[in-house]
Symmetry: T
Subunit: 69 residues, 12 copies
Amino acid sequence: MTDHVYKLTELVGTSPESLERAIQNAVARAKRTVRNMRWFEVQQIRGHIEKGEVEHWQVILKVGFTLED
Amino acid sequence: MTDHVYKLTELVGTSPESLERAIQNAVARAKRTVRNMRWFEVQQIRGHIEKGEVEHWQVILKVGFTLED
Amino acid sequence: MTDHVYKLTELVGTSPESLERAIQNAVARAKRTVRNMRWFEVQQIRGHIEKGEVEHWQVILKVGFTLED
Amino acid sequence: MTDHVYKLTELVGTSPESLERAIQNAVARAKRTVRNMRWFEVQQIRGHIEKGEVEHWQVILKVGFTLED
Amino acid sequence: MTDHVYKLTELVGTSPESLERAIQNAVARAKRTVRNMRWFEVQQIRGHIEKGEVEHWQVILKVGFTLED
Amino acid sequence: MTDHVYKLTELVGTSPESLERAIQNAVARAKRTVRNMRWFEVQQIRGHIEKGEVEHWQVILKVGFTLED
Amino acid sequence: MTDHVYKLTELVGTSPESLERAIQNAVARAKRTVRNMRWFEVQQIRGHIEKGEVEHWQVILKVGFTLED
Amino acid sequence: MTDHVYKLTELVGTSPESLERAIQNAVARAKRTVRNMRWFEVQQIRGHIEKGEVEHWQVILKVGFTLED
Amino acid sequence: MTDHVYKLTELVGTSPESLERAIQNAVARAKRTVRNMRWFEVQQIRGHIEKGEVEHWQVILKVGFTLED
Amino acid sequence: MTDHVYKLTELVGTSPESLERAIQNAVARAKRTVRNMRWFEVQQIRGHIEKGEVEHWQVILKVGFTLED
Amino acid sequence: MTDHVYKLTELVGTSPESLERAIQNAVARAKRTVRNMRWFEVQQIRGHIEKGEVEHWQVILKVGFTLED
Amino acid sequence: MTDHVYKLTELVGTSPESLERAIQNAVARAKRTVRNMRWFEVQQIRGHIEKGEVEHWQVILKVGFTLED
């Protein structure tokens, strides 16, 4: 096995639907500029409330990707 | 912009369905007595198990609301 | 009331579907060997990314169960 | 089971006697205005020293109680 | 010495000027409804950025006050 | 000195009397199946409240024991 | 509302004057390459001491900005 | 009020009797060389187990004392 | 992919030589009773001092292994 | 480069004026007995409230200094 | 002294040999694109186990570098 | 057993060679003035980078020693 090096980038994904969707939105957006994403770790879960209802979910996550040789 | 002051209150919402629903239940209950809720932050996710199945989800969250002038 | 003693065991559940399902999978697997499970606490939420999409969700949780007399 | 919502309130109990008494003092004081207290969690243990002796114990705790429907 | 019980309430103060002013704004606002405030503890320091400049400072703090007998 | 390896197991002891007794109850219960216990570390202190009184104390602790060769 | 995605970048600002100025220096420097900065969160406050005097303040902060579509 | 400066020193007190006694032992020992002790904060609670019984309690605490002018 | 479930067990490895060796000792000992170990995470690094020299290194680690179907 | 060893000491500085001044007061007081101070790290920010106003600021900090050969 | 601003980037270095080598691999890889690296801080130590042996070490670290004017 | 009291002192050891050597350097330096050192706990691992290479390792550790009667 070669000695891989990974980089972590921290993102906030949002969604009016669900926590999973907020994470998927962040990963989908990162995909445009980052290749070789391998895993994510949730840092914090928050949300915005409007008129006494949860308007959208916010998930802060770290995404790890392989730095290519 | 005027200098807003917010207050945080800590709640536990529960639901047999999902994490999102547990949070929404807490916010819906708080709505009866608290106006101007603006955001929430999840503190912990727990749950109750009955006969080897998750019976309900529990989410501890902080809710922030504007203190009116 | 007698003086109950509980034990905590730490598990990682995975699911391609949702966070709730990842937790339920861990609890269902533990059910085969552990009786009297009472509660769980989420420790961390992670996930695996394949080709720029979340391939499966991983939830690290502690499960508490009663030690029988 | 109905979907309960709980509220957490943070208190500091003090006692010249013991840690347990400091917690009980906080709960006893809260009982005057809060109904349906269900559990507490210790956040921090501190104390005051006077003339090289522990004069009183201080326990910071969160108390959870059911919000009635 | 009698056995005092204190309560902690969590606030967010804001100010366009400084961190100290953000804290003082929160304490001044709380003064209207809370008597016998005794100390505060900073939980987090944040801020809002507008057009590449810090527009206002936000300080999350816990304020402790004596519960009267 | 030989290279010892220890294992940590996480328990919750309860007692209506005191924090020390809750810990001792957990250790006494573990003694039935675990040999060579060496130390414990308190993770969290909680308790159950019934009718505005602390009904029993709960201490979450890790117990370390030597794995025999 | 569209589903925004934000990115967090971690910086250390320094200043011989004050904590606020150290933060503003970091934000001002980031402004040259990052558009749409929205908020910051202080991670740690440190400082350098020279000849028994605080020579400069160091603030580690995370800055959040909107990823444009 | 003059600008007091306090120093914190970290100690481990032990006792075969109770947590309170372990703390008091640490404070009593510190009293021989430190004047003006004002408060303590518990950092961790541990203990030693011998033959399946808690042999002694260990409390790691910080003690704060006034630095005299 | 099937829905794997992993279990985490917490160990303390020791060695008079190095941190890496302390970890390897813990893993080697666990290998006797645990199959399918997949990863470890270091929780804490400690050590024992004898006559002013580090006598042995202690590493607290969590080891994750696959629960077989 | 020789192998430097540093020591950390924990102090609480206070000031009626500002957070920076509270830190500077602690460093100035330490200067009387400690040489070669090199850096500080803020551990906690607190304050005392009197009659609904912040009476003085308290900053808990660690100060690092070189141990001379 | 001018007001330096530093940026922190988070990396994971791996090595089959040692913890130090895992860190050095991450720094060596970052060197290709980042100039003026000044310090690193270890965030977490993990590793991969294959056939009951540590196959490679993983160190998550933050690397700080000067942003040039 | 008599009731021992221990004191903790916080040090930073450095070494161009390895993490273990950085710790041993700190312990060796402390040995000159502190008797009866018993254990250490690593608090943080850092390092200095010069020209894209790790120049020296820094380990922040707490050292515990017995206070003699």
